[in-house]
């Protein structure tokens, strides 16, 4: 299991590095998909099947497809040739270093990694999946936010359909 953890973390990290390093926007977007797949595998390893699957379904399968779709319509060659000024590189390096320092300082003060959390199968006994547990929480404790978000999304989707219908005429 630890072997699989390192495998998928390496995949996710390599994808992340690929996003930054690749000059070709399509390659960068594709590296991001690989990073998402690694991340989803890590979620699944934590018994969080629903979160892992949603990671693939929503991010890798829908959002990144739209990204690629837009990138395809752009002129990629121009982006590959573009020079990057020194100021930009220094600025980006400074922001990255600052962020890394922030993360390290936060993680060294908290005991996130040391706490032992019981496995999902042990919390509710065998037979209840994480889907059931998340569903029950969403529709009992968090029913109000769920309703609000649901109405918001419904309005947005219906609005999109109405707008596109008008354009057809």
């Amino acid at each position: 299991m630890t072997f699989l953890f390192y495998l998928f973390s390496a995949l996710a990290l390599m994808g992340g590095i690929g996003v930054v390093v690749n000059r070709n926007p399509v390659s960068a977007a594709f590296s991001m998909v690989i990073s998402f797949l690694g991340l989803a595998a890590l979620f699944i390893q934590l018994d969080a099947f629903l979160v892992g699957i949603l990671q693939i379904l929503v991010y890798a399968g829908a959002i990144m497809v739209l990204f690629l779709f837009i990138i395809m319509l752009l002129d990629v060659r121009e982006e590959e040739k573009r020079r990057r000024p020194l100021v930009n590189i220094i600025g980006a390096g400074g922001v990255t270093l600052g962020f890394i320092a922030l993360v390290i300082s936060v993680l060294s003060r908290s005991d996130v990694g040391k706490a032992t959390i019981p496995a999902l199968t042990e919390v509710e006994g065998p037979g209840t999946s994480d889907v059931h547990q998340i569903g029950e929480l969403l529709f009992s404790t968090y029913w109000f936010p769920v309703q609000i978000v649901g109405v918001l999304l419904l309005v947005a989707t219906v609005g999109v359909v109405v707008l596109s219908k008008k354009e057809l005429k």
């Binding site: 399509v26 018994d47 099947f49 699957i53």
Partner: protein, 414 residues
């Protein structure tokens, strides 16, 4: 393994046993020179095993590998090849022709001849393409289609082994998630080919697949609400005992509630099947590869085995789509009227019942594949704006309304 939520106790037991084996089998004075391959294997295997897997359950892995090899490589892949043959024979029958009938009895070996032809043809890569993605794209269409086999239950139990590769609690979501990745193959093929026909095919295909994914996902929500379950194995078990989703004629399905709920399920089924046609890029929705406008769409520049992979990917997606439709709407591996149905998911099943269940599943899938083929050779192609309007303006709204109606019906017939 990642897919099976295992109890902690079991895992610890496995780890202890393997470390004891390791100590017993190690032979300290053997050098690589004087030992044969057998003792070397013995001393190596436990080490490799203990490094690779603290928690791995070898029985589970071996069973999974056997199921993957048999179900995916020995059954589904040949079915892909045979459905190409079936497509040509059925289309010939519809158009009053003979079709391929020379290679083997009834032309059954035509698929083998086609396969050899694809392998032996020149694998030509045009100079103007982006090579990396041009090579990657065919694999990316084929692999997701085969990956989705993992969660579809193709039988009840055989020799006390569940006939599903990964018994996930998020079965339908897994299928949609992985199937949504197959867009990448088409997008990248269209983009990397660097030709206008490929590109237009890729763009069309992407927007089509994204549009119909929504109605596809929404169409099964009523079904999941009725069963209250996302595990495909348990959905099939429920249908085996209480009537198929589309045919509630026995068990608890034989009631007013069962008949009334069959109406939204039927609407779901229509939306699901139509969206499946669009998702697999088949006629009447095959605009991405529409010959009269786009030469061959996103695979215009491909030849030889790379072209064959696109072809096989399309048929594999069709087979998996049929498998999912059978599992969700037509009772999966179960016989009608509760014949030979096991009492629960965990109940023991005699081996010949298990074999019959597997046979029933594949019979249903083959029937649906033939349905796919007949539709392809019956209906004319849609226009692109009609296709998009059908997806966004009709199916999306109907599927949404269907969810609401099902919720109301469920509340009334509680």
């Amino acid at each position: 393994m990642g897919f099976q939520p295992m109890g902690r106790v079991e895992m610890i037991g496995v780890r202890r046993r393997s470390s004891r084996d390791f100590n017993r089998r190690r032979r300290p004075c053997i050098t690589p020179q004087n030992m044969g391959w057998k003792p070397m294997l013995h001393s190596l295997l436990p080490t490799a095993a203990s490094v690779l897997s603290d928690h791995m359950d070898w029985h589970l892995i071996i069973a999974a590998v056997i199921k993957i090899v048999v179900f995916v490589f020995l059954v589904t892949l040949p079915m892909v090849a045979m459905s190409v043959w079936a497509e040509r024979r059925v289309s010939a029958a519809i158009q009053d022709r003979v079709g391929p009938n020379r290679v083997g009895p009834f032309g059954l070996l035509q698929a083998v001849a086609d396969g050899i032809k694809f392998l032996l043809k020149e694998d030509f890569t045009p100079a103007h393409v982006n090579k990396f993605y041009f090579w990657l794209a065919p694999a990316l269409t084929m692999v997701p289609a085969l990956l989705t086999c993992a969660v579809i239950p193709f039988g009840s139990r055989l020799f006390d082994e569940k006939m599903v590769i990964a018994d996930l609690d998020v079965g339908p979501l897994f299928v949609f998630a992985i199937a949504s990745l197959s867009v990448y193959g088409i997008v990248l093929a269209g983009w990397s080919s660097n030709s206008k026909y490929s590109f237009l095919g890729g763009v069309r295909s992407t927007s089509q697949m994204i549009s119909y994914e929504i109605s596809l996902g929404l169409s099964i929500v009523p079904l999941i609400m009725i069963y209250g379950e996302l595990n495909l194995g348990r959905i099939v078990q429920e249908q085996a005992l209480n009537g198929w989703a589309l045919l509630p004629l026995w068990g608890e399905g034989l009631s007013v509630k069962g008949f009334i709920l069959a109406v939204p399920i039927f609407i779901s089924f229509i939306i699901f099947m139509t969206s499946m046609f669009a998702e697999t890029n088949r006629l009447p929705f095959d605009l991405p590869e529409c010959e009269t406008e786009l030469v061959a769409g996103y695979h215009t520049e491909y030849s030889s085995m790379k072209f064959a992979l696109f072809f096989l990917g399309e048929y594999a997606a069709m087979i998996i789509g049929s498998g999912l439709a059978v599992t969700l709407f037509l009772g999966g591996w179960s016989l009608p009227f509760g014949w030979l149905a096991p009492e629960s998911v965990d109940a023991a099943v005699p081996w010949w019942h298990g074999l019959i269940h597997i046979g029933v599943y594949f019979t249903k899938v083959i029937a649906l594949i033939i349905f796919f083929i007949v539709i392809r050779w019956t209906l004319p192609r849609f226009r692109y704006d009609q296709l998009m309007r059908l997806g966004w303006v009709f199916f999306f709204e109907i599927a949404l309304a269907n969810v609401v109606i099902t919720a109301i019906l469920l509340a009334i017939f509680k």
